[in-house]
């Protein structure tokens, strides 16, 4: 790409120029925004009651704009399927984890799981929630994988896949279930909303955590099994 340095240099110059112009333009645009134009915070506040949770961000994520989150679970799943479709686990140089990592992971993993649970629970009324919890869970998984732990082959097939789709599945079930009994898609009855959201969140947390860990693995765990 930089093979012909002369053109490369000229272009780079042009590029810098362009980018500067762009940066200035964007900055100007941002600065010119009306500071008065309110977002949706008022609406969120008024409808918070009906959403079943008291944390506005969680309310938006899982109720008001729960559909976004549903699709996003799908994104995560697709990324995973995409990674799996590229083949088996890449050939890493196997190195046994050092004693420090080993000990640390033994200590940290349960704690991380605990933290994840807490984050999930707290998400209904304070900062926290499924994604945060899922990420922590995923970190735990990564730690495990780094220290050489692998999933049992028995679990690497259908059970793993069930967990992976759990989040998306729960969303769709919860959303579509009420559809069947005559409601609008993803309209939770306010009485049940809190519990429902927690359940969906729990499923999502599990899925997110496992997906992140699986993504880290970078390939299909059962690939070797198939062959």
């Amino acid at each position: 790409m930089t093979a012909n340095g002369q053109t490369g240099k000229t272009f780079r110059l042009l590029l810098v120029l362009l980018l500067t112009v762009m940066a200035v333009g964007l900055g100007y645009a941002v600065l010119e925004l009306h500071s008065s134009a309110g977002g949706l915070s008022k609406q969120v506040a008024t409808n918070l009651e009906a959403s079943g949770v008291s944390n506005p961000v969680t309310a938006v994520l899982l109720n008001f704009r729960g559909y976004d989150t549903l699709l996003e679970m799908a994104v995560l799943l697709v990324a995973l399927i995409g990674v799996w479709s590229l083949g088996g686990i890449p050939d890493y140089r196997e190195s046994s984890p050092g004693p420090v990592l080993d000990t640390l992971s033994r200590l940290l993993v349960p704690m991380l799981i605990l933290v994840a649970g807490y984050l999930l629970w707290v998400g209904t009324h304070a900062p926290g929630g499924a994604f945060q919890a899922g990420s922590v869970l995923g970190a735990a998984g990564v730690l495990l994988l780094l220290s050489g732990w692998r999933l049992e082959k028995i679990f690497a097939g259908l059970p793993l896949r069930v967990i992976l789709i759990l989040g998306l599945g729960a969303f769709v079930t919860a959303g579509g279930g009420f559809l069947l009994i005559g409601n609008v898609f993803m309209e939770y009855p306010s009485a049940l909303a809190g519990e429902l959201i927690l359940m969906v969140e729990a499923a999502a947390t599990l899925s997110i955590g496992v997906t992140l860990a699986a993504l880290f693995l970078g390939g299909r765990p059962e690939a070797g099994l198939d062959k």
Partner: protein, 102 residues
């Protein structure tokens, strides 16, 4: 002019910087990182401006959007990284070939 706009401008800066890196660097890892930097810039703008109205609580919708965006970015990055490894495996290089040959 509040600190909110400072963050927002920082976000714009990150976006442009990431763009520059994306264009200039050939190494795929750098490109992927550049995309992530750009994404971060966008999220920063998004979330910073949510708080520009001092009177009310920060707008929660952008926060939710950012969380969604981050997950999307993570997924994309994961796929990109694995793809990069595969490209490396197939071509022996961490760069995209200048031009595809038949």
């Amino acid at each position: 002019m509040s600190h909110v706009f400072l963050y927002a401008l920082l976000g714009v800066g990150l976006f442009v910087l990431g763009l520059y890196a994306l264009i200039v660097h050939a190494h795929l890892l750098r490109k992927i990182l550049a995309i992530n930097v750009m994404g971060t810039g966008v999220f920063l703008v998004l979330v910073a401006l949510a708080g520009r109205n001092q009177d009310t609580l920060p707008d929660p919708v952008p926060h939710a959007m950012v969380i969604t965006g981050i997950v999307v970015a993570v997924s994309a990055t994961a796929l990109a990284l694995i793809l990069m490894l595969k490209v490396n495996g197939a071509t022996g290089k961490n760069e995209l070939p200048d031009r595809d040959r038949d």
